[in-house]
Subunit: 416 residues, 4 copies
Amino acid sequence: MKTFDKYESAVRSYSRGWPTVFEKSKGYKLWDIDGKEYIDFFAGAGTLNYGHNNDDMQTRIIEYIRNNGIIHSLDMGTTPRKEFLERFQEVILKPRNLDYKIMFPGPTGTNSVESALKIARKVTGRDTVISFTNAFHGMTIGSLSISGNSSKRNGAGIPLHHGVFMPFDDYAENQDSITYIEKFLEDQGSGVALPAAIILETVQGEGGINAARMEWLKKIADICERWDILLIVDDIQAGCGRTGTFFSFEPAGIKPDIVCLSKSIGGIGLPMAITLIKPEYDQWSPGEHNGTFRGNNLAFIAATEALKFWETDKFGKEVQQKGEFLSEAVKSIIKKFPELHGTARGRGLMQGIAVGIDGLSDKICAEAFDRGLILETSGPNGEVVKFLPPLIIDEKGLREGLDVLEESIEHVLQTK
Amino acid sequence: MKTFDKYESAVRSYSRGWPTVFEKSKGYKLWDIDGKEYIDFFAGAGTLNYGHNNDDMQTRIIEYIRNNGIIHSLDMGTTPRKEFLERFQEVILKPRNLDYKIMFPGPTGTNSVESALKIARKVTGRDTVISFTNAFHGMTIGSLSISGNSSKRNGAGIPLHHGVFMPFDDYAENQDSITYIEKFLEDQGSGVALPAAIILETVQGEGGINAARMEWLKKIADICERWDILLIVDDIQAGCGRTGTFFSFEPAGIKPDIVCLSKSIGGIGLPMAITLIKPEYDQWSPGEHNGTFRGNNLAFIAATEALKFWETDKFGKEVQQKGEFLSEAVKSIIKKFPELHGTARGRGLMQGIAVGIDGLSDKICAEAFDRGLILETSGPNGEVVKFLPPLIIDEKGLREGLDVLEESIEHVLQTK
Amino acid sequence: MKTFDKYESAVRSYSRGWPTVFEKSKGYKLWDIDGKEYIDFFAGAGTLNYGHNNDDMQTRIIEYIRNNGIIHSLDMGTTPRKEFLERFQEVILKPRNLDYKIMFPGPTGTNSVESALKIARKVTGRDTVISFTNAFHGMTIGSLSISGNSSKRNGAGIPLHHGVFMPFDDYAENQDSITYIEKFLEDQGSGVALPAAIILETVQGEGGINAARMEWLKKIADICERWDILLIVDDIQAGCGRTGTFFSFEPAGIKPDIVCLSKSIGGIGLPMAITLIKPEYDQWSPGEHNGTFRGNNLAFIAATEALKFWETDKFGKEVQQKGEFLSEAVKSIIKKFPELHGTARGRGLMQGIAVGIDGLSDKICAEAFDRGLILETSGPNGEVVKFLPPLIIDEKGLREGLDVLEESIEHVLQTK
Amino acid sequence: MKTFDKYESAVRSYSRGWPTVFEKSKGYKLWDIDGKEYIDFFAGAGTLNYGHNNDDMQTRIIEYIRNNGIIHSLDMGTTPRKEFLERFQEVILKPRNLDYKIMFPGPTGTNSVESALKIARKVTGRDTVISFTNAFHGMTIGSLSISGNSSKRNGAGIPLHHGVFMPFDDYAENQDSITYIEKFLEDQGSGVALPAAIILETVQGEGGINAARMEWLKKIADICERWDILLIVDDIQAGCGRTGTFFSFEPAGIKPDIVCLSKSIGGIGLPMAITLIKPEYDQWSPGEHNGTFRGNNLAFIAATEALKFWETDKFGKEVQQKGEFLSEAVKSIIKKFPELHGTARGRGLMQGIAVGIDGLSDKICAEAFDRGLILETSGPNGEVVKFLPPLIIDEKGLREGLDVLEESIEHVLQTK
């Protein structure tokens, strides 16, 4: 670990909470250089939905490299890009009756969000974007402007503009966020301009695993339609099956104008992102947004391979079942440890326990790491213990991880 | 090509200029699906300095994948990250007597620039950043704010602030940019606030292959020291050996406070970026800047392998020699075709011909593509034919490419 | 009227609604060049609380001019400035147990608001200012940024920043604005930064005569204290006795950190404004805010004379009584004309009827003008008929004006 | 003076440099409460071009008040407004072959500038405004954004945007500002957007009495025409005859699109401002910009009276002659006191001596005040001793003032 202390910037964070050097990984497990095994309830912050080192993805990538396949291609035409475009259309969009143009905005989530904001502003000629309390959309200035976390915002070193924060579903006690939003939009004196877009995560990953109700999502979509506002769903963390359907918004029956995908879209953990744009809004000039790493062909190969999980509805249903199993387990933990003052959060395999005692969630995660379970906290004060296992985990794996968690909680509560 | 037309966003650009599907690549050559061969004078916009599909890099990556090495790791400790940190220190920083902390800001150039701006603002408590006419630093809002290109700026859909543009070296006829910059800084009534940083590319890649003189760079560094301004060198395109030394600023004898690297730092074309920060300015809080793809281990492996090129000064000297060869060739072309009204630009293996006739440079590049040579234009009006071959190209390859270029020019001039 | 059409800018507004040339005025009456008499329920938009052409003010001003008293003095020491400062201290601040430094920020309300924003930002080192839906604070960019009206905001031609709009008291149906504000401030992920200040009008003049409850004002003051936020009361229209006490916030028992006064502070309608700042926040450097017309000595003379109204509590009590009389009249009108779908608004001599039928309020005011009564509309859609008579009006004058109003309503409803 | 210390805000400035209480004034003289007489080389910072307490203006104002003339009228029609509009047209605009709509933007200079910026942005649909180094346009956020002084800018407490500062005429040694401006506008990669407007003072009053050459003004006007940029001349301090013609730009033969006037336009020192807008750009909606004190009728009366000075060319010629006399005197002082390292600045009766020794100019003005001469410093570091006598001063008055000045310089240099 000395190497990191000595040579790496003070900004590093995960290597502080999990002070070891990881070496191998497969499925829902990791091993460090000392051979210690860890169960993964973190999944690369949602990047490893299909688990670590999927065999088929490995095989296809190795084969491609061996054949001197072109690795870096900006947005030039390549075979892997072509295949991904075709398969994504066939496996994901067509069956869901969705019509989107696919944009490669650069290989990170924040690239996708920045591109979404640009095109929404261009298409509408407006500058304001409404986002929500505890939203997290990325760390570059455009995305950060619509993210809620104050310490991350302060890190910008400049005031952040053009974003208006509205209360997310079930935000302030006994208040209805929809009433509030509609009033601000209707009232010509509200001080809030008609926005280019409303952007939201259906389940706020960094903001505390806050899951919006489907009914609330529908109302937001209605507001967008009524006022001719573009609806952007940032499905970077909650998408790619995390909640039990490929897109997290499917159960709400809505069709966003723009969808941002990254993290697990790349299948095996390689940097990749796409922005889906309804054809009528795909009004870009060529090259108006670009980036050097738009053509990460190894990622395209793994991404195409990953789509196989979605050829039938089997995988999604399994995720839903495991989600229910996890829900029950969470409830039972909250009941078993009333000292946590815990609240259940989330849906699908994106869940958490909001701990009512300051600082406790951090201690639980640290103890769990020592005992071989990797999970992190979330929320404005890191108050939520967050469960984000790879979707391919089985019940045994879930059970094992939850057992370690219970032991960790027990230990932490005893030594308090 | 129909796939791209049908499914991909209108924003795509390279697949328009080079309308084919690329399949394989090795060294300084590419082949498309029809087996047609191309000489590469483009190098992934500076990402493939070490050529396509370097054998050793391929071998090491395949081996790592086969061993189920951890692929995606955010900023957790992993063996490839550790090795890269140590080797970069040993091979690059120590021999050059440079002391920097290494930050992984996310895997694209613009991530690095955004992180540089944040830390410069945090450290100084100031918000303004001085950049230069025709600068290009990236497409996310922070980086775009300090980039000069008006059509890219307009794409933001919002006014861009906090950047002040000063004239780059040799900008306006008979004017001295240093005099101008100093006056603006000295004068308490100039309207330009003391900036957090001055950011520059030593050779402006997208802005037209404008190479600053070493003497000018020194003066800028002096200004930064005198006024306690941080000097940021964006060496994303000009660094990693492109101009004949690892860092493009080495011949000027300056030591920037922050250096941004991306593109070829990843060795084989996989997304990667680092930000180098003088230890006294590495004042980040943990996680104050972050990103999902900070831990692209396959890129770390190739990056570490690439450092072998720099273990002696042989590689750099070869690049310089090839640079001189290219210089001579450029001069001879300009002389041979006076109808171009051409001007030579750049240094090392980052050169170009600014063509004095509107629209001609585009036609030359299109003709060259048909004849099996890949190169692109640069500059505010795309007026510069840009030569950016892989650094590992040999004289034969250079000669071959230049021959195609000459034929293309001849053809274009005849059919005008 | 041709002169105005021909020579004056299209921006003129009042001369359109009241198409005549006014010549004389006294007390609560005006006369135009044709000798037609008007009752004034407008009072210069709140500037003529003491009526037109008060005898004593006239006498003192004429005397001063005759003696070659210095008229324009920036912030040089002059006798009228000295006298105003002393009398304001003695008559207004001391009896109310208020301790403020008095700033002359330039002679208009927006100058005062801009100065308040500057000092609040300087003192706290923060940039955000919370204002409220339907707030109106002025037309220069700083003040406009915290004003809600969308058409006035659009007039800026640039996006307006640094202001966050919170719901005013009783804004959205069944929602509690205090709960929202507290939640946004408490939550570190709300996206709303800790503000430098909260600025409010106790009764929103331009925004629709929305009167906050005293209890709500107290809660806002508590929030400010708890979070160390400066409380700015913009008392430009509601102050100087308009609601029955010199400051409109007196009944709430709060002590704002900064108070903006203009309009009637100048006594007779001459341009003047002051900013009251708690001594601990008066951290200006000399000249850090300035302006050419800070020293309008004729205004100081009238202003000092006006303070005589406040030497006892008689005047305030009379205003309160007249306010109650007006309240009753408003209720009775609403009852008498159910077709108006009217709602009563305001308090003291700052009241209005919100008319539920689009466009009707404008017609009523136009008809009233024809019949010799001057009043204007207010609110985001001009839906409120606004009563703002000079405070010195007697019951007979009120009664007369209200009679004309009733006739006008009757006429408009009949001819609909 | 205790009253000011005790009750007035720390922001006060002139009462610090001139620590007395002024009581009377006439022509070019003032008297304080102790009867001490002062010669006025300050003229209310350019507000009292016609001197203090002009007899005819006094008479007309008193008469109007006595007749209960309407004093405060927003933008309602009144007789004084009508007369001013007509006379301004007849005496000023028509003879100069100028066609402008007249806007009353509120009674201060900064109101006029803010209105000019708004309409320029509305008309062009652009947001950037180019202003110049050492420009001063006012203290509200819109005007301050285009003003150069760093301490005044810092006072804003927020970053100031949308303004780009170009070098004023003869700014940096051996550099040509026109070449720079043209290059920045021509180059699509310069980072400077096509602006809505270029705003300038022909002689920079607060910025150090920098007088642009007529030839430079013409070139700027040409640039504006070529690029379809609106030219705004802020003639608030240099206009109303200060340089020997009513508008300061007349000798350049240019016709700005918008002209801002305030200060001396009100004749006797009462707050007033107007914005002149070419009819084709007068695209305001009614009330899109407004303000409570747009109708200062006492100021209109004095303003109309002041126009009598311009009915023939006699007055202007006298000012020019006095300007030449002052020029000679300035040269002779600079020659007589080489220790000043003085440079002559300005034109007409707007001149100054830039003193090359830090802090000396302040001492000279302080000494002059003690000796009965009122003048102030100007420039980014207060390095310019500024001469701004009322235009009605005679040679005797000028001579007297200059004698006091010479004595003061002598005294200060001796006691150094």
